[in-house]
C-alpha cells in the first residue's frame, strides 16, 4: 500500500487513538477479544489443541538443547551406532537414539524437531504474508469496486483456479528448490482465498450506515478502510489464518516429499517421509513418527481454528449456556449459511493428501 497523505494522517491519529484504547482497557473491559477468549476457555478441545501447539513450538525452539542432551546433531550420520549390521536404521531407544535413526543413521527425534522448525516457520510466515496481502487486495477490491474490483477479483479467481502442484513444480525446476521459493509458492496460493472472503465481507460492511456516517463526517477512503472496515475484518481473518497454518504446513511437506522443497541434508517432515518410504517394511518408526508429528500438528491447528471460530460467533454462547455438546453445535453451524461458516468451506480447499503417504 502506498503511503498517501491521507493514510499518513490516519496513522498519526491511529497512534493517538491507540493510546485512548489502551486507557480504555483499564477502565472498561469486555472487548470483542476478551469475550472471545472467555468463550474459548470453555472449549476444552480448543484449549487442548492450543496446549499441544505451544508444546510443539517449545520443542522446536528448544531443538538445540535436545542436541546437547543427546549429542546427536541433526545432520550427522552415525554408521556405527545408528545402523545395524545389515545397514538398516536402529529402533527407538537403541544406543541413545530416542526414536531410532533414519536411513543414513541420523537421530530421527532430532531431525523431527528440526523439521518442526521448518514446518512452523513456513506455516506462520506464509500465512502472515498471505493474510496481509489478502486483506489488502480484498479490501481494495471490495471497497473501491468497479474496475479495480473487476481486475483484482478476476486475478484472485485465476489464482484459485490454478493447479498449485503444477506451478510449484515448474517454479521449483526453474528457480531451483529453496526455502524462499517454497514460501513464495505457498504464499502465492494462500492470499487468494483470504482476499475473496475479505472482499465479500467488505462488500457487506460497506453498505452499513456507519460507513455512510463516516463519509458524512468527511472521512476519506483510507480512513474508512482502516478505522471502520478493518476492525470488523480481524475476526474472520484470524479464524481463516488459524485454519490456514496447517494447510501451509502440509503444502510444504508435500513439496518437500516430492523433492521440490527443503533440500537435504536440512531436515523437513516431507523429506523424512520421502526417505522413509524405502524402509517402511523393516523400520516402522521411520515412517510413523514423522507422520505422527505432521498429523498432530495439523490436527491441533485445525481444532484450534474451529474453536476460535466458534468463540467468535456470538450465537454459540447461547448454545454453550444450554450445555449442549460440541458435536451438535457443529451440525447447527453448517445449517446456518452465514459468512463464518463460509470461511470453513474456503479455508480448506487444497489439503494435499500428504498424511497418508
Amino acid at each position: 500500500m502506498s503511503i498517501t497523505g491521507i493514510e499518513a494522517a490516519s496513522q498519526e491519529t491511529a497512534a493517538s487513538e491507540g493510546a485512548l484504547d489502551a486507557d480504555a482497557a483499564k477502565i472498561e473491559g469486555r472487548s470483542q477479544w476478551q469475550l472471545t477468549w472467555r468463550r474459548l476457555r470453555q472449549d476444552k478441545v480448543a484449549i487442548a489443541a492450543l496446549v499441544v501447539i505451544l508444546v510443539i513450538v517449545l520443542l522446536a525452539i528448544l531443538a538445540p538443547a535436545f542436541v546437547s542432551i543427546t549429542h546427536h546433531p541433526p545432520n550427522i550420520a552415525y554408521p556405527n551406532t545408528g545402523e545395524d549390521a545389515a545397514g538398516n536404521p536402529v529402533g527407538p531407544g537403541t544406543n541413545g537414539f530416542w526414536l531410532g535413526t533414519d536411513g543414513t543413521g541420523r537421530d530421527l527425534f532430532i531431525r523431527i524437531l528440526y523439521g518442526a522448525r521448518i514446518s512452523l516457520f513456513v506455516g506462520f510466515v506464509t500465512t502472515a504474508i498471505g493474510a496481509v496481502l489478502g486483506v489488502i487486495v480484498g479490501l481494495m477490491a471490495g471497497f473501491f469496486g468497479g474496475f479495480i474490483d473487476t481486475v483484482l477479483a478476476r486475478f484472485t479467481d485465476a489464482v484459485l483456479a490454478f493447479p498449485y502442484v503444477v506451478l510449484a513444480l515448474a517454479l521449483a525446476v526453474v528457480l531451483g528448490p529453496s526455502l524462499t521459493v517454497i514460501i513464495g509458492v505457498i504464499t502465492f496460493f494462500s492470499w487468494a482465498a483470504i482476499a475473496r472472503i475479505v472482499r465479500g465481507q467488505t462488500l457487506s460492511i460497506k453498505e452499513k450506515e456507519y460507513i455512510e456516517a463516516a463519509r458524512s463526517l468527511g472521512a476519506g477512503p483510507f480512513r474508512i478502510m482502516i478505522f471502520d472496515i478493518l476492525p470488523n475484518l480481524l475476526a474472520p481473518v484470524l479464524v481463516l489464518a488459524t485454519l490456514y497454518i496447517p494447510t501451509a504446513i502440509v503444502f510444504e511437506a508435500t513439496l518437500s516429499y516430492l523433492g521440490l522443497g527443503i533440500q537435504p541434508p536440512t531436515a523437513s517432515w516431507g523429506d523424512i517421509l520421502a526417505d522413509a518410504q524405502n524402509f517402511f517394511q523393516t523400520s516402522w518408526w521411520y515412517v510413523v513418527f514423522p507422520a505422527l508429528a505432521l498429523l498432530i500438528t495439523t490436527l491441533a491447528f485445525n481444532l484450534l481454528g474451529d474453536g476460535v471460530r466458534d468463540a467468535m460467533d456470538p450465537r454459540t454462547e447461547r448454545v454453550l449456556a444450554a450445555g449442549r455438546g460440541r458435536r451438535k453445535r457443529r451440525g447447527k453451524r453448517q445449517v446456518l449459511a452465514d459468512g463464518q461458516s463460509e470461511l470453513a468451506a474456503h479455508a480448506a480447499p487444497y489439503v494435499p493428501p500428504a498424511e497418508g503417504s
Partner: protein, 360 residues
C-alpha cells in the same frame, strides 16, 4: 407563523428566496440508472428517486419532510448532505453552491452539515468504543487531539444525556435510545449549522422517541440549529416542524407552514395520509373517516404521466393523467401553502365517500 413570507415558504422559486434561508434546494433531480447485469452493462431505465424538487429552510427552523417508503425522502437528504451526487439542480447552503463538490471542496462544508441516521444499531460501528465514535469528527477534521479531544467528547456526552464515564464502552452496551444519543453527539461535535435527521426516531420506542425529540428541540434552541427532519410519522413531524413538505414518488405534492397544512390539507394524498394517522382518543378514532387509497405506490422507474398520484387519487379526472399540476398556492390559502393538484380538496369535503366511487 410570524416568519417573513419567503422564509416560511418551503418551496419557492430561486428568484424570491430571501437571504435568510440556510439551505435552498433548487429543482433537484436525482435519477439512479437501472442497468442490466452481465459483462456489458446497458442502462435500461432510471429510478426517478427525486424529480424536480425545490425547497428551502430558514435559519433556525425545522422543515419536516414526510412521505411513504420509496417517496425519495432519504435520497433527497443524502443529496443535500452531499453523500451522493445529484443529477441536476442545485443545493445552496449558507449562500454557497455546494452541488456536487469534490471531496476536498466539500470538507469544510461537512463541518456545517451533519446527519443523524435512522438505525441506531447500524449507524454505530460495533467494533469501536463510543469515545472513538464521538471523537471521530475531531479526528477527521484534526481540530483536537488526545486529552483535549477526550474532554470535548465527554462534554458532548453529557450534553446529550449520556454518562461521560461510559466513554470506553462499546455501542452494544447501550440501549436504542442511548445509541441514538450517541449519534446525536457525533452530529453535534463540530457545531454544525444544519442537521439532517433521517428518520431519527422511527426505530425507537414511543416513550424514547419523545426523549430524543425533546433533546433535539433543546439543542435547536441552544445552538440555533436548522433541521431537515425526515419522518413517516405525521404526529412526530407535526411536533417538531415549523413547515412541512409532503413527498410522493419523488415530487413534492404539498408544502407549507405546519398548521395550515395539517388543518386543511389541499392535496388528496396529504388528506389521505392525515386520515390514516392513528388518533390517541378512541372517540375521535371511531368518528373519523379514513380515506382508503386503492393500489400500491407505482414504480419510480416508470412513474405515471401527469400528476403522479392520479392512479390512486379519489378525485382524479382525465386531465390529471395528461397534465402535470404546478406547485402553487390555491385560492384561500396563505401564499406559502403550495399544492400541486388540479382539484385541490375543499374544506369539509369528504374524500372517504369519493374514494368509494371507481376512479378512472
Amino acid at each position: 407563523m410570524s416568519e417573513p413570507q419567503a422564509g416560511a415558504g418551503t418551496a419557492s422559486t430561486p428568484a424570491d428566496a430571501a437571504g435568510d434561508d440556510l439551505v435552498r434546494v433548487e429543482n433537484m433531480v436525482k435519477y439512479f440508472p437501472v442497468r442490466t447485469g452481465g459483462l456489458v452493462r446497458r442502462t435500461v431505465g432510471h429510478v426517478q428517486a427525486v424529480d424536480d424538487v425545490s425547497l428551502s429552510i430558514p435559519r433556525g427552523k425545522t422543515l419536516g419532510l414526510v412521505g411513504e417508503t420509496g417517496s425519495g425522502k432519504s435520497t433527497l437528504a443524502r443529496c443535500v448532505a452531499g453523500l451522493i451526487p445529484v443529477t441536476s439542480g442545485r443545493v445552496i447552503f449558507d449562500g454557497r453552491d455546494i452541488t456536487n463538490l469534490s471531496r476536498g471542496a466539500m470538507r469544510p462544508v461537512r463541518r456545517e452539515v451533519q446527519m443523524i441516521f435512522q438505525d441506531p444499531y447500524s449507524s454505530l460501528n460495533p467494533r469501536r468504543r463510543v469515545g472513538a465514535i464521538i471523537g471521530d469528527p475531531f479526528a477527521i477534521h484534526k481540530t483536537s487531539t488526545g486529552g483535549e479531544r477526550k474532554r470535548q467528547v465527554q462534554e458532548l456526552m453529557e450534553r446529550v444525556g449520556l454518562n461521560p464515564e461510559h466513554y470506553n464502552r462499546f455501542p452494544a452496551e447501550f440501549s436504542g435510545g442511548q445509541r441514538q444519543r450517541i449519534g446525536v453527539a457525533r452530529a453535534l461535535a463540530l457545531k454544525p449549522k444544519l442537521i439532517i435527521c433521517d428518520e431519527p426516531v422511527s426505530a425507537l420506542d414511543v416513550s424514547i422517541q419523545a426523549q430524543v425529540l425533546n433533546l433535539l428541540a433543546d439543542l435547536q434552541r441552544d445552538y440555533n440549529l436548522t433541521y431537515l427532519f425526515i419522518a413517516h410519522d405525521l404526529e412526530v413531524v407535526r411536533h417538531v416542524s415549523d413547515s412541512v413538505a409532503v413527498m410522493y414518488l419523488g415530487r413534492i405534492g404539498e408544502s407549507g407552514p405546519r398548521d395550515p397544512v395539517y388543518r386543511s390539507p389541499r392535496h388528496p394524498y396529504t388528506a389521505a395520509l392525515l386520515s390514516a394517522a392513528p388518533a390517541a382518543d378512541p372517540d375521535t378514532a371511531a368518528a373519523r373517516q379514513r380515506i382508503i387509497l386503492t393500489g400500491d405506490v407505482p414504480s419510480p422507474i416508470d412513474p405515471p404521466s401527469g400528476c403522479r398520484f392520479h392512479p390512486r387519487c379519489p378525485k382524479a379526472e382525465a386531465v390529471c393523467g395528461q397534465q402535470e399540476p404546478p406547485l402553487e398556492a390555491k385560492a384561500g390559502d396563505v401564499a406559502t401553502h403550495l399544492t400541486a393538484c388540479h382539484f385541490p380538496v375543499r374544506a369539509g369535503e369528504n374524500l372517504a365517500v369519493a374514494g368509494r366511487s371507481e376512479p378512472t
